[in-house]
Amino acid sequence: MTTHSFAANRLSAGYDDREILQDLDLTISPGKITVIVGANACGKSTLLRTMSRLIFPRQGQVLLDGKSIHQTPSRKLARTLGLLPQSPVAPEGITVADLVSRGRHPHQSLFSRWTRQDDEAVDSALAATKTFDLAERPVDELSGGQRQRVWIAMALAQQTDILLLDEPTTFLDINHQIEVLDLLTDLNRARGTTVVMVLHDLNLAARYADYLVAMTEGRVHAFGTPEDVLTEDMVRQVFGLESRIITDPISARPIMLPIGRHRMASNETAHVTEKEEKRL
């Protein structure tokens, strides 16, 4: 494993006339898990898509080892930088082994034959994601959790040192969400893969991230360890939500408890009312 420097440098990007990212700087720590959080439409997906060259920036650059990724040949880039998009499509009837082997695309050329190295990459991707027993099954017959593991296996077969994932736990049951995040952590620990992902769930983000990026209105609002970033102030400023932060007894990471208007034990109600009054 080689360590790569990976950073967004004064990045502005958007669609049509809407500018979504504004002059954003972010340096990804090699060999770590970085999780991007933020409210809907804050630009977190746009950031991930721009950093994986799916969107061409208006200004600024995404630098991989000091070189702009938008000027690197795409095949070469795909051997270092992998991406699992939010909704990949599995062709009808494709088997798991076939799908995972497509991750080898950037390592093959027009006339090159399938090599033992390719087979080994597929094998180790299946093993790492515990999908080996599914290898001959059609992807459309699998459960949501299994399917997501297979897609991660495809991204693993690509053997990139950096892996970006856009909400890899969306639509999964909670047990499968944990399974996927554990798997990514294994991968990060065993291979030193740099993982950058967008997650919706703040508490899961805080539990699994080495570094959290909180975004609002196309900018990085806070960046640092989960303890530094996941604060009551941040939740209020980024999500407009009153909350309490306590320590998760299981992971010893911060955990956010939202405060709504209902269903509160009486002293908590008092606590909030007091705060509200103070603000008025």
């Binding site: 499509v89 009808e92 082994a97 497509r102 695309h105 033992r116 094998d123």
Partner: protein, 346 residues
């Protein structure tokens, strides 16, 4: 990951098994094409023993039989195979690239565009030969670009492209009908060719443009098999795998349109062959490798068999497009109903 050594063999075996099945299926499809080719040459209005067919094919002159086999049946069979392959390959390329079986060139107006240009060139401009093909290819490309451009909004949405294409197709069909109806002394035979496609009156010289299109565009397309397989997983995934999505898509469109339009300029828009070949091939291949070659062969089978049925097995003679059209229309309805429910892809 520690037990890597033994399991990798299972992976290798599984891959070889898939490749093996693919080879067997290809061989079977080729056998069916050859069988249909043989039947077309020997069993027509009259029966010619296979031995005599072979003697004619290697150049011997048998009075009467030579004319039937070499002048009537052979051009028809050869043209059917080549046109079928062009339609099948061009159709499946679109369907796979846009991940939708409805995105076939004969549904989204490209075939009608090429057909309208060919009819215009022949009827109005009195052109013949290669110029007609060139004009048809150019018109097919224009329609492709137009449909693509009209349905472009923050990237291509499959449904929008298909709806725009269906509208375009209807419009161009009426152009064909208008030119045909205003043409003086136009035979019903010829009109049928441009409305549903036919290999009536086939001549061996017409095979040349088809053959060239297959070699040039088909070869280029086959060389992009892996890129197409990556595109099947979605544009984002393909880009992440190192495919230059926009460039690859342009190349695939040019190749597919080149084949479809060349074939249309020769045989007319043989109904639904481009649309049916891919999905039928997908049922046969069932995840064992690429759909490109199998679809080309299924296209050849559809046209050969459709023409045979239309000429000999029905109470009266019909051009091949009527037969393939009768097959394709119910499938189109089935697909629209099903896609509405599942949003299925190829």
């Amino acid at each position: 990951m520690t037990e890597l050594a033994p399991t990798v063999d299972l992976i290798i075996n599984s891959r070889r098994r898939r490749a093996g099945r693919h080879a067997v299926l290809l061989a079977l499809l080729i056998a069916v094409v050859l069988a249909l080719f043989g039947i077309t040459l020997s069993v027509g209005q009259s029966f010619t023993p296979p031995v005599e067919v072979i003697r004619v094919l290697i150049g011997q002159d048998l009075p009467g039989t030579s004319f039937t086999v070499a002048q009537l049946r052979l051009p028809r069979a050869v043209l059917s195979i080549l046109a079928g392959m062009c339609f099948g390959l061009g159709g499946v390329a679109f369907q796979v690239m846009l991940r939708n079986p409805l995105a076939s060139p004969d549904i989204i107006g490209i075939t009608s565009g090429a057909g309208a240009a060919a009819v215009f060139a022949i009827v109005v401009l009195s052109m013949t030969g290669p110029m007609v093909s060139i004009l048809a290819v150019a018109a097919g490309l224009c329609v492709a670009v137009l449909v693509y451009g009209l349905s472009f909004r923050n990237g291509i949405a499959g449904t929008r492209l298909i709806l725009v294409g269906i509208g375009m197709s209807a419009m161009l069909q009426s152009v064909i009908a208008y030119i045909l109806s205003s043409a003086p002394a136009w035979s019903l035979q010829e009109a049928m060719r441009w409305l549903t496609g036919s290999v009536n009156g086939a001549q061996l010289s017409q095979a040349l443009p088809l053959f060239l299109a297959l070699v040039l565009f088909g070869g280029l397309l086959l060389s992009r098999t892996r890129d197409l397989e990556a595109l099947q997983l979605g544009d984002d995934t393909a880009a992440a795998l190192g495919v230059r999505v926009a460039t690859t898509r342009m190349l695939i469109i040019v190749c597919a349109v080149g084949m479809i339009a060349t074939a249309t300029a020769v045989t007319g828009p043989i109904a639904f062959v481009a649309f049916l070949a891919g999905p039928i091939a997908a049922r046969i291949v069932r995840g064992n490798g690429s759909l490109l070659l199998p679809s080309a062969l299924v296209g050849a089978i559809l046209v050969l068999a459709g023409d045979y049925v239309g000429q000999l097995l029905l109470p009266s003679r019909y051009p091949v497009g009527v037969v393939t059209g009768a097959l394709g229309a119910p499938y189109l309805i089935f697909l629209i109903v099903r896609v509405n429910r599942t949003g299925g892809s190829l």
